[in-house]
């Protein structure tokens, strides 16, 4: 069948389906939604409505995060604000027992991956994210925002990455899906540099 004939056949079939219900003794349909008032009246009313249309204005930024709670590993911390260090790396949290939110990135609950970092330990013992590596698929993470609202995330996976192969895009690249990344240190400790060789990253998505 040629393309033109196929198109014609499709159109005829559609028309047959449309008008077919009025034949063979079937009940005649009631006036359709759009046909219940004179077309000119409806168009005039529609034009008036379109003339009065106002788009959404006054974008309200999502409140900043102020608290992080992870019941499964006993984390309950306020949040400091982190930025980028002069050498381009992310700033370290300044306190061992308090996590930090990467403030240039998305806010929790907004599209994109909000990133929260915390120390795993100090020279004196465990720090705020000491048990982060224990998180598993399905674990719950709550972030409270400045307006008091809580956004809930669910862990998808926890993974360890060599710092030299840190998955920057997976953690920081903008997306339009609300997500959360928790980052701390892990793996081998290099006593000569005083740093761990790996990062532990928790990937979580917002609960609908």
């Amino acid at each position: 069948m040629t393309r033109g004939r196929r198109r014609l056949a499709a159109a005829v079939a559609a028309l047959a389906l449309l008008v077919g219900c009025s034949g063979s003794g079937e009940q005649r349909p009631e006036p359709s939604p759009a046909a219940s008032s004179p077309a000119s009246d409806r168009t005039a009313a529609g034009a008036e409505a379109a003339r009065g249309f106002r788009s959404v204005h006054g974008y309200q930024a999502t409140p900043i995060p102020v608290r992080l709670q992870i019941p499964r590993i006993g984390v309950d911390t306020s949040l400091d604000h982190l930025g980028r260090a002069p050498n381009g790396t992310v700033q370290e949290p300044s306190r061992w027992d308090v996590a930090g939110w990467y403030a240039p990135g998305p806010r929790p609950g907004d599209p994109g991956s909000a990133v929260i970092l915390g120390h795993v330990d100090s020279k004196r013992g465990p720090a705020v994210f000491f048990r982060l590596r224990e998180l598993r698929h399905g674990d719950q993470i709550d972030v409270t925002r400045a307006d008091g609202a809580t956004v809930r995330f669910v862990v998808q996976r926890t993974a360890k990455y060599d710092k030299r192969l840190f998955p920057t895009d997976e953690v920081y690249y903008p997306t339009l899906t609300p997500a959360l990344r928790l980052v701390t240190c892990g793996g081998q400790f290099d006593a000569t540099t005083g740093h761990y060789r790996s990062n532990i990253i928790v990937f979580a998505t917002m609960r609908p």
Partner: protein, 435 residues
């Protein structure tokens, strides 16, 4: 007169427009004259069609994904609107909408054939055509308030979902589970039936809300359909964050185009339907603004929303003028749109730190505006062939706009991302205790 666009030409057109986001529609019957530079760009794009076709046929997995996403999203919208026109008893519009849906089915079949081979392409085409026939039958059942016809169509649609699942499981050599594919199509047909029921009940808010959901679900299913056609080795890098961002913006920008078209047509159906359609336009603007906030932060996002709001209001002011048959208001609205395009282009160019200059952005926005103003002119004059052709061209153009914008965003954003891992350990005690 409707242009006879073949499926192959549609694939070419999609790629050509993606490659030339500043190209105005070429040779549209009855459309106002495009500026010479844009005509030149369109002609230039056309001259590269053979090369582009080869690229499309052998395209990267990401290109294949983009094409599936776009055509599946369009399928949902065209099916919704065809069913709605059956319910609204619009006999002049139904055959044109049906032919347009058929064009998209041809394009999808071509994509499936390229991805899965001839035999699987043939089987897909049969399933898809059956699916459309059953959707139409359901709409007819709604129109006639015929419960048994509706039930029969529902049964056929759900059986079609099962058949599709079995087809994809086989075509993908088991990379997709039949039950998963079936579930996706079941959701799709449920949404299409629900929106037809809501429309018939004059619950326009629900009908238009479901329409947007149906589009988003089908658009996002394009990634799975494309991914299932390639080996796991080729799928590496298929769903990277930059690719996710491109896909999300393509979805939202295509949705913007289509929701404006929906609001334009709803204007002629009365205030309640317009209000429902306009609410979804606003929902799309909110989603786009939040997306921009993820990239440029809340302050710039607020600026974006203001610029975008002006754009949307300008388009619907023109629509109101057309519906009121007010030539003076039309001329004013056109003039306003030109100014708005310049301001929006300036903003977007600033956001991407001049990675895309103002001039081509202005041309792209102007071409987009012209698709929409010409569309409503054609629709008001009941030149439905032309209206739907403009809709298709305008929708396909948005993929090019998304690619261009996201490409520029990538160049702008990447240097600002933190470098390397974090120094979030200070003592080594975790190392000892965790061992």
């Amino acid at each position: 007169m409707r242009s006879r666009t073949s499926p192959v030409a549609l694939v070419i057109l999609s790629v050509a427009l993606a490659a030339a986001c500043d190209a105005a529609p070429a040779g549209r019957p009855g459309s106002s004259a495009a500026p010479p530079p844009a005509e030149h760009a369109a002609a230039s794009a056309a001259s590269q069609q053979a090369t582009k076709l080869a690229a499309a046929a052998q395209g990267s997995p990401q290109q294949r994904r983009a094409q599936f996403e776009q055509h599946l999203g369009l399928h949902a919208l065209q099916a919704v609107r065809l069913m709605r026109s059956v319910v609204a008893a619009a006999p002049d519009f139904v055959p044109v909408a049906s032919a347009s849906l058929q064009d998209n089915t041809d394009a999808l079949s071509q994509l499936v054939t390229t991805a899965y081979g001839d035999a699987n392409g043939d089987r897909f085409t049969k399933l898809w055509k059956r699916h459309i026939t059953d959707l139409l039958a359901y709409a007819r059942g709604v129109t006639g308030k015929d419960a048994s016809a509706k039930q029969a169509s529902r049964t056929a649609l759900l059986a079609g979902a099962e058949a599709y699942g079995a087809w994809l499981a086989q075509a993908s050599s088991g990379r997709v589970k039949a039950s998963d594919a079936t579930a996706g199509v079941r959701m799709h047909v449920q949404e299409l039936m629900d929106q037809a029921d809501a429309y018939a009940a004059r619950d326009y808010a629900r009908a238009y809300r479901i329409e947007r959901q149906a589009y988003e679900h089908m658009f996002t299913s394009g990634a799975a359909l494309a991914k299932a056609s390639i080996t796991p080795e080729l799928a590496v890098g298929f769903d990277t964050p930059p690719e996710q961002l491109r896909s999300a913006f393509a979805m939202l920008l295509g949705e913007h185009m289509e929701l404006i078209i929906g609001a334009q047509r709803a204007t002629f159906a009365g205030a309640p339907e317009f209000d429902a359609a306009a609410a979804q336009v606003n929902a799309n603007t909110s989603a786009l603004t939040k997306g921009m906030a993820a990239i440029v932060g809340p302050r710039k996002a607020a600026e974006f929303q203001s610029a975008w709001a002006e754009h949307v209001e300008g388009l619907l002011a023109y629509t109101a003028a057309v519906a009121a048959n007010d030539e003076a208001a039309k001329a004013t609205a056109r003039q306003n749109l030109d100014g708005i395009a310049g301001r929006l282009a300036l903003y977007l160019s600033d956001v991407v730190r001049k990675e895309v200059p103002v001039e081509p952005l202005t041309e792209a926005i102007t071409a987009h505006d012209r698709h929409l103003t010409d569309h409503v002119d054609a629709y008001a004059a009941k030149r439905y062939d032309q209206a739907l052709q403009l809709e298709r061209e305008g929708y396909l153009q948005m993929l090019g706009v998304a690619n261009t914008l996201v490409g520029a965003i990538q160049k702008t954003v990447r240097p600002q991302l933190p470098v390397g891992g974090s120094q979030t350990g200070g003592g080594g005690s975790a190392h000892h205790r965790h061992r």
